[in-house]
Amino acid sequence: MDLAYTPEEEEFRARLREWLAKALPALPPKPSPRDWPGRRAYDLGWQRMLYDAGYAHVHWDASPTTRLIFLEETETAGAPYVGAGFVGLLHAGPTIAAEGTPGQRERWLPPILRGEEVWCQGFSEPDAGSDLAALRTRARRDGDDYVVTGSKIWTSHAEVADWCELLVRTDPAAPKHRGITWLAMPMSAPGVEVRPLRTLAGSTEFAEVFLDEVRVPVANRVGAENDGWRVTMVTLSFERGTAFVGEVVACRRVLRSVAAAARDDGRWDDAVLRRRLGRLNAEFRALWRLTQWNVSEAEASGGGVPGVGGSVFKLRYSHARQELYDVAADVLGAGSLDLEQPWVLDRLSSLSYTIAAGTSQIQRNIVAERVLGLPKGR
């Protein structure tokens, strides 16, 4: 067991740190959260800077440890988050890289890396909830096209996306986990309608997407027809495996600011509050160690698709994040009712963490059945 990095990894870290110090001051001002075209341009611009500097594909072909260092350093330096590039870089891209044909990889991967195209995720449906396989959006074959009709929900970045990783039912007679197909759908296709949803934080992070006889070429299918559930599991394991590394670093920074605020306004003398902050420090230190453990495990096993350890991490992390912002609210006192104060919007958005990407309840089922081997049941 060791926590030391190799000389090559340390060199990667030093070079990245040096580049970030020069690159970040050159960034344009951050657009308002409500300015979606502005946010798209800003996020893609950052991706282009990463591409030009040779860091664009670090999520795809670097070793897990190198990826860890990348996320640690960019977050520590306050670099922009992947933002609108999230689905392309962390879900659709890795899925196409793993399951796509050479032609599909050539068509879709370079624009993601260069920050030219935005992807969104068309998995969830209004009535399906966490039961992803209960999807009803259907596609029938018509010549060289699939004709798709149905609707999707909770589709992040749909307003500004070029492509959608879309799950459709191609065989309604098959058992529900079969008969599903993974398609890349152009968002500009006739019959695609996007209606933004307003979150409880007041923003339009995601949307409903209505599909009315949308024609998607059969050539846009990734994986075999009716084999989409397996492809989806590949996508989701990426989602659970690496999505939160940078956020743990961010939470540790926020926790320090909360402690500093408590010290500055005299709340530090409150032993109960102080000890809660101490416990949260223990919590986020442990989550960082768990991240390092999972990354080392992935590296030891060849660095392929992340394993079920991601569910263990997500369960603990999503609740710790909410606790962090609850403590922040206690430090703010009456200020916690003011949306203009720091951490208040983050507190609201942290409420989604125990729901998105599989609710905590579903994650517990996954851990119990796949890790502990408990029987499936109701």
Binding site: L255, A259, R263, R289, S296, A300, L374
Partner: protein, 290 residues
């Protein structure tokens, strides 16, 4: 960075698990509960296996290993509820004659004025004058309190090794609960098929695995702040894990015959060491302002 057990570490853990299964299995544990005396022969056998001399340099006749290895063997000891002043004797190896080999049993007045196994000890470190015996909640850990003992700084290594024992209990409690949930049938199916039971077990694993990462990392860095974090996580994983394990066992879990209560009680004893976790919380709070 290779934050995983090495093959040598895996072998050490397996050897310790094998020794303890052979010498301190379920039947021996039960017999010990009925007659809670320190087993001197077992103590010497632990000594011969290097349990106490593990971190004593080879030049001084020890095994010459480090904290990560010590944490692994203490985790195994915690798993099987091995009784005795294990931490105090391990820490005395190399300074108190006979401690390294398991000839001597060493008790320690800890930072909170608590002494475990005072009457069984050959050597007592710290001032135990006026110690008062408590009717210990844990049948396998006799406890004395030294009234008026001034709280003093707690040795971080003692804290870490205790956390390793707690990790053993947390892991074992999860295993026992899962075993029971897979075999015990109610309403025509194993109770592990019920989501409410599943979720208890899943949370036990999540707490144990988070604690494991914290304990192992603290063993690598030996940093007092890392150790404080490991302690808090491990105490929580052990206490809540044993409690949830009891819940999964239902009415049977509330009986003396079911060994789950022994895990819970030992977890309580360990979490009181050094005056409890408040000092660790304060240390971690101050670290945020550094």
């Amino acid at each position: 960075m290779r934050f995983q057990l090495t093959s040598d570490q895996l072998a050490l853990r397996a050897a310790m698990r094998e020794l303890l299964a052979r010498r301190f299995g379920g039947a021996v544990l039960r017999a010990a509960v009925d007659d809670p005396r320190l087993d001197r022969a077992l103590w010497r056998e632990l000594g011969a296996a290097g349990f106490f001399a593990l971190r004593v340099p080879e030049a001084d006749g020890g095994v010459g290993l480090g904290l990560p290895e010590a944490v692994l063997v203490f985790e195994e000891a915690g798993r099987v509820l091995l009784p005795g002043p294990l931490v105090a004797t391990h820490l005395a190896a190399g300074t108190v004659p006979g401690a390294a080999s398991g000839e001597a049993v060493v008790a320690d007045v800890d930072g909170g004025g608590l002494v475990e196994w005072l009457d069984a000890a050959d050597v007592v470190r710290g001032d135990a004058a006026g110690a008062v015996a408590l009717t210990s909640v844990d049948p396998l850990t006799p406890v004395h309190r030294v009234p008026g003992a001034r709280a003093r700084a707690v040795d971080p290594v003692a804290v870490l090794l205790t956390a390793a024992e707690q990790l053993g209990t947390a892991t074992r409690a999860c295993e026992l609960a899962v075993q029971h949930a897979r075999t015990r049938e109610q309403f025509g199916q194993p109770i592990g098929a019920f989501q409410a039971v599943k979720h208890l077990c899943a949370q036990m694993l999540v707490r144990a695995e988070t604690a494991r990462a914290a304990v192992y990392a603290a063993a690598v860095t030996a940093d007092p702040v890392d150790i404080a974090a490991a302690r808090l996580l491990a105490d929580e994983a052990a206490e809540r894990g044993a409690r949830d394990c009891l819940q999964v066992h239902g009415g049977m879990g509330f009986t003396w015959e079911c060994e789950v209560h022994l895990h819970l009680k030992r977890a309580w004893v360990r979490s009181r060491r050094g005056g409890g976790g408040a000092e660790s919380e304060e240390l971690l709070a101050v670290d945020l302002l550094a």
